[in-house]
């Protein structure tokens, strides 16, 4: 399984619709401080079902919606879609390509889709549970978090090993 594309609209500093296309291998994201690079990492975490807003630097789920700036009004909705190649069948779905979409509105209302079919957040979380991505794995390392692998206690390291087992 690999990542094919990521589409963000209204997510944090990405007011306009933006699409990243990924190839196998290394995709590097560069740019000045505060430009939005870590926001991309947050978007990936969020669309995969992250429910701890604190881990994506917010306090309420609506914090991920573009909040406006000196020159722009706030938006009413944030949406992120991630498309993965599933031809190896690593995700428990019949599709060879899987697109997961997550939306949140100012009201706090959320919507979730798997290949355009509405679903619940937990369907998304369960979809990725045994895929090796997301919670418990080392596949998403946030800014300043690499040291945590070492400063984590011995028991936490065993848990990492158990996830890899």
């Amino acid at each position: 399984m690999y990542l094919k594309s990521l589409v963000m609209q209204g997510f944090k500093s990405f007011t306009n619709r933006v699409e990243l296309t990924f190839m196998p291998g290394v995709t590097a994201v560069v740019g000045p401080n505060g430009s939005g690079k870590s926001n991309i990492a947050d978007a990936i975490r969020w669309v995969l079902g992250e429910q701890s807003i604190r881990s994506i630097r917010g306090t309420r789920m609506q914090d991920v919606i573009f909040a406006g700036s000196a020159a722009r009004r706030p938006l009413g909705m944030a949406e992120v879609s991630i498309t993965l190649d599933n031809s190896a069948g690593r995700l428990p779905l019949e599709f060879s390509e899987v697109t997961v979409t997550r939306r949140v509105f100012r009201s706090g209302e959320s919507q979730f889709y798997i290949n355009k079919t509405p679903c619940r957040l937990r369907d998304i979380q369960e979809l990725f549970l045994d895929s090796g991505i997301g919670k418990g794995s080392l596949s998403l390392i946030g800014q300043g978090e690499v040291d945590a692998v070492l400063s984590a206690g011995p028991e936490e390291r065993r848990l990492l090993l158990e996830d890899a087992a």
Partner: protein, 165 residues
């Protein structure tokens, strides 16, 4: 199960020692159990010896040595249980030029089997990329995304462009 955990441990521990020695240009590192009888309740300790130095606790290591050790452990786990893709946000921040170059080498090798999305400010890491995205913030505080080609981004050119008059 305890047996499976032990097998995974053997593989990760070996991979960790090998990758550590590659990144540090020598030295030794071991992952050891706090309790070799009851693995499922035990913890994992890291014993680390950079080349020419004594075996030491993680605490005495420098910032860069800690980051490099964490990177070795991360890649050891990826080697044993490859993640479909990995999102890494500035994990090379604490490394000096020489260590970033070694890290970029390991990243390139692992990228043959795994997909990496890496946020970085470091030149050698950028040079290991197959695809490069530049993120900037426009005057209205909206993030913009651009596809980049490596020739366009030598850090010296970027620095020269941004140096104050």
């Amino acid at each position: 199960s305890s047996k499976r955990l032990r097998e995974t441990y053997e593989k990760v521990s070996t991979a960790f020692s090998n990758i550590f020695a590659r990144l540090f240009g020598g030295g030794q590192a071991h992952l050891t159990w706090t309790d070799t009888e009851h693995l499922l309740d035990a913890g994992l300790e890291l014993m680390v010896q950079p080349p020419g130095k004594k075996m030491q606790s993680l605490m005495a290591l420098s910032g860069g040595e800690r980051a490099l050790t964490a990177i070795a452990l991360l890649f050891a786990i990826i080697e044993v249980r490859p993640s479909p893709f990995c999102v890494l946000d500035e994990i090379d921040a604490a490394l000096d030029e020489r260590n970033v170059a070694l890290f970029a080498g390991i990243l390139s090798d692992f990228a043959k089997q795994s997909q990496f999305i890496i946020i970085t400010h470091r030149q050698f890491t950028m040079e290991a990329a197959d695809v490069l995205y530049g993120v900037t913030m426009d005057r209205t505080a909206a993030s913009e995304l651009m596809s980049l080609h490596l020739a366009a981004i030598p850090e010296a050119a970027a620095a020269a462009e941004h140096a104050p008059a």
